[in-house]
């Protein structure tokens, strides 16, 4: 009896990610830092204060500058196979042991401003023209690594399904709870692909099986793994990290 009562209702493992998030957002904010003292601020985009509002307004201005700097014709540098980083680093908003297996009967759903919304199976996607790339994946944290992906150019796919190419956003939803969105111009850049393969083998779960976005003109967190739905929309969709304060355009 007493054993049962002493057993915690929630295990540490269950709440660990949430605790880490709270720690990062809340506890650090409340501590005095030299930066905070010197700049007379303790603002980190979560206080709903005037300073945070100003920072967010400047980030939106930065997004416009980035969109203006972006050219659909400009290609990310490609590398020889010898430059591929090995071992390739796993990265997600969770630890590697929490990687989700591909759901049974997986299909890619389509939504929003798309003429043909029938879902896509992996076989149908594999039948579309494929394109490979060896490009640099740059994380918002600063580190980078060179990897090899191949798959269907997103522009080819969007044209095939009759997407409204004048729409503003392409939104990606993933079955691991992740989401992100990109501007249409970047979606149509020729190196933006729906990747099926990593290092010439079908994607393993930790690399985003069965289908992921690979977009070398944006920071790594835009290359969403484990896709389950794509939506074309004019309504700002945000995303997992974008909603917490990472700048939305995130171009490189």
């Amino acid at each position: 009896m007493s054993d049962q009562r002493n057993k915690p209702a929630v295990s540490m493992a269950e709440i660990k990610p949430e605790l880490e998030r709270l720690h990062r957002r809340g506890f650090l904010r409340s501590t005095l830092s030299l930066g905070a003292l010197t700049m007379l601020t303790g603002y980190d985009l979560s206080t709903h204060s005037g300073v945070d509002a100003a920072l967010e307004a400047i980030l939106r201005f930065d997004d416009r500058v980035q969109a203006a700097l972006f050219s659909r014709q400009r290609l990310a540098e490609t590398y020889p196979a010898s430059a591929i980083t090995r071992p390739f680093r796993f990265n997600a908003y969770y630890a590697e042991w929490q990687v989700r297996p591909v759901p049974d009967n997986w299909v890619l759903s389509l939504g929003g401003l798309v003429a043909d919304r029938r879902p896509w199976t992996l076989q149908k996607l594999m039948a579309l023209p494929q394109q490979g790339q060896i490009t640099r994946h740059i994380c918002i944290e600063g580190w980078s690594q060179i990897g090899q992906w191949s798959g269907v150019p997103l522009g080819t796919f969007l044209r095939r399904v009759g997407a409204d190419l004048s729409a503003r956003y392409v939104n990606f939803k993933c079955f691991d709870g992740y989401s992100t969105s990109i501007d249409m111009a970047s979606a149509l850049q020729p190196q933006t692909i729906l990747a099926l393969d990593f290092e010439e083998k079908p994607l393993a779960p930790q690399w985003g099986a069965p289908l992921r976005l690979r977009i070398p003109t944006k920071l790594g967190f835009k290359s969403a793994k484990n896709l389950e739905a794509i939506e074309v929309t004019n309504k700002y969709p945000g995303g997992y990290w974008e909603n917490q304060g990472y700048d939305w355009f995130a171009g490189v």
């Binding site: 400047i58 918002i140 003109t217």
Partner: protein, 208 residues
Amino acid sequence: MDQRETGRRPAHSVAIRVMHWIGVYAMGCMIFSGWEIYNASPSLPFLFPAWTGLGGWLGGALAWHLSAMWLLFADGIAYLVYGFASGHFRRDLKPPRPAELGQDLGAALRFRLKHHMGHYNAVQRVLYAGVIIAVILQVTTGLAIWKPVQLGWLAGLFGDYPIARGIHLAIMFGIVAFVLVHVALVVIHPRTLKSMIVTVPAEIEESR
């Protein structure tokens, strides 16, 4: 130049003083948020203490870094335009002759270098010109790692993205080293702090 007239001009013009303090704030924001960003993925075997960071977490630090960069950029451009147009660079930051630098550096290391308000000795001229060049390089490497694809030619100028990122970190250490020396010298000559805040007439420089 007429020495009496030299004596009447302020040690630092109002424009210089305003741009100096805006630059201090902008550079402070950049350095402390930069340390927070570095801590997200340190490329050297140490972290900056958490209490020195600005932004609270990576997203907050990046928001500060990508905001303050505009202030630093605007302040820097204004300073460069003013520096060339007003003759400030030509008059005050003239590159010293090696003999002059050697003499002043020797005196400085023996703590015997004279400081005349409104006139820079050889050591000061080298340090100030050096930090101006360092900040220009820092903005350039910063742009290269912010936009390594869209400004690929710039990233290519420094090698590649990872090399440009390494240079950006290295120059930061140079700027921080300058700040430490600069602040130490202001502590030794506190009246120079006053001259960067209020109007203090320049001293008449002894003829060399």
